[in-house]
């Protein structure tokens, strides 16, 4: 899983029918200190995450195990909203 910040949304009216009704969030990868890392991913929202929230992203086939993502063609899902990151 990766840490990311929600920085936007993607609107796509013409898309696979199984993606209808799914919110597509633009997730900027961040490091544990909250600083931007290189890269982004467009992920399906499963936890009603809001803009600027720090979230947990799961990618690959595991994304299809997320709530409401069974049998839909996705490779990334937002599966948690981060309360706190603590490091030594």
């Amino acid at each position: 899983m990766r840490l990311a910040t929600i920085i936007g949304t993607v609107v796509a009216t013409r898309k696979d029918s199984r993606l209808e009704g799914k919110k597509l969030l633009i997730c900027q990868y961040v490091n544990p200190d909250g600083e931007d890392e290189a890269g982004y991913v467009v992920a399906v929202d499963t936890v009603s995450a809001g803009f600027h929230e720090k979230v947990l992203i799961v990618q690959g086939s595991s994304a299809r195990m997320a709530s409401g993502c069974k049998d839909i063609p996705v490779d990334a899902a937002v599966v948690g909203i981060v309360d706190e990151v603590s490091q030594d």
Binding site: I7, G8, T9, V10, V11, A12, T13, R14, K15, D16, L19, L24, I26, Q28, Y40, V41, V42, A43, F51, H52, Q59, G60, S61, A63, R64, D71, I72, P73, V74, D75, A76
Partner: protein, 89 residues
């Protein structure tokens, strides 16, 4: 999924049976400012995308095959949406 631009088509007559009937698109990944980033790759088409379209691409095996209606097929990338808008806050 990533945002990318369709930059071309590939024709292959001799190929996997499960690939027949699906358009092969040349896909250039984009960063969030719209600039090209990384190398182009190939994806099958699920949404009738054309050259110049900005698209959403899935790169996981089951998802990519399911997107074009195949099962147990050697497909690792498919176009699953045509992007209307990218809204960055």
């Amino acid at each position: 999924m990533i945002i990318a631009k369709v930059v071309g088509n590939v024709v292959a007559t001799q190929k996997e049976p499960t690939h027949h009937g699906h358009k092969i698109l040349l896909i250039q990944p984009l960063d969030l400012s719209g600039a090209e980033i990384g190398d182009a790759f190939l994806a099958l088409d699920d949404v009738d995308a054309g050259v110049g379209d900005r698209v959403l691409v899935v790169q996981e095996g089951w998802s990519a095959a399911a997107a074009v209606g195949e099962e147990m097929a050697p497909i690792d990338a498919s176009v699953v949406g045509v992007v209307d808008n990218v809204d960055i806050t």
